[in-house]
Symmetry: C2
Subunit: 283 residues, 2 copies
Amino acid sequence: MSRIAYVAGRYVPHLQAAVHIEDRGYQFSDGVYEVVAVKGGHLVDEEPHLARLARSLGELRITPPMGEAALKIVMRETIRRNGVDNGIVYLQITRGAAPRDHGFPKAAKPVLVVTARRTRPPNPSLARDGISVITIPDIRWQRCDIKAVGLLPNVLGKQRAREAGAYEAWQVDREGRVTEGTSTNAWIVTAAGEVVTRAADHAILNGITRCAVLAIIRSEGYEFVERAFTVAEARSAREAFLTSTTSNLLPVVRIDGEPVADGKPGPLSGKLLAAYLTHASAA
Amino acid sequence: MSRIAYVAGRYVPHLQAAVHIEDRGYQFSDGVYEVVAVKGGHLVDEEPHLARLARSLGELRITPPMGEAALKIVMRETIRRNGVDNGIVYLQITRGAAPRDHGFPKAAKPVLVVTARRTRPPNPSLARDGISVITIPDIRWQRCDIKAVGLLPNVLGKQRAREAGAYEAWQVDREGRVTEGTSTNAWIVTAAGEVVTRAADHAILNGITRCAVLAIIRSEGYEFVERAFTVAEARSAREAFLTSTTSNLLPVVRIDGEPVADGKPGPLSGKLLAAYLTHASAA
């Protein structure tokens, strides 16, 4: 089955799927995106993803290229045409193509691109054995709450992690506090058993998986608080983990080469992952 | 004459000039660019532009898609095919197209796009009457010395300036010091007659016009210093101005609605502009 992409109103072969060289996504990173998981043929947490997309567009004053109902149809049709039962849908909306000029163009029409592809779930060994993270300075802009395509610092950070043999890089603000990973949210469980993750301020992207795990924590009655934590706190935590649409929930067992607690995935991470997978397969 | 763009090895009609939807410039802002002025058929300060391009690529570890000699030929051919005698050449190099994943792809081939278009010189009334700037917080990433295409904060800043009836927005760091405009460098002349512009640290893009004007200042023997200045200093300056490839040098006569000195372009700005135009027509 050859892949098909939706580009500005048409379904086209993936190989030929293209946007104009003056698309403002390409020249200015003037656009936003979402990645939605597909599990057993259904879209996981579709509504909060679309709500966040609407918020990102609103913050940038980009007019949605179509209504939410139509967008849902395009996502489903793209999934169908690519035979995706388990995988992801990627959608990107830019301010459109216009002669290059920094200010908003008067005449540009926002451009929607949607792709879908099959993916394998995260390798089970990652959840079983845990993963490593490194810490790096957070050099990103100050509106990381907007899911914009200006991801170059995230790219550089992820690359650093990989070259260090780690799964992810946790970014650290000027005050020494972890903001988030380059494509994941960061969590710890303190020695007192309290779950901690940074509040959804302008320094982080409010992950949909983050929100789903927070909802589980609340409904299960675990102690938790949304606040920033330092790297030192994370190193001395009882457990640490990360969350994202494509990683689900993965225990972090090493930070900058040093073990977290006994260097093995903690029990709460395992329970939360199980509960999240139940949520994702039902949602 | 219909416009022609160079895209990854081919000269194509501008209307059909496109990059793949998985080009990393489009999905990650993983690319760099340059804008070079064309005056009287020649490229202004081509060598420093190409040197800066090489530096940006090096910082991001993107392999140049061709050697400098070949790139010069492509720029000239694009200028020729578009009949540009006075205007600009725009060139963008991204890490290439690859299945979406934050880290560097193993197989991607960097993609070069070159366009050229005629432009009119800045409206003479701007240099005669001066322009207004507003000041806004600098919310950009911490590697603005790399000329990357992740320009969304610049887009938002320029738009704010336009909506405020201003020509440009000067971005201000956490210490209250001006970094630069959204697409221009910022300068003042102090009451003591000293020219001041921020040193080329990681917070600004080291403008080629900035460098040319600094060279003029040195050779003419004007007092100058490269250091950060505050908004308050700029408001009480004797003169203020900005520089860029497309704006040349423009006197700033209002900051946040308040006049700089007597609200008229200062004499040094005029002299430096004249000297810069001489340089640009000869260079």
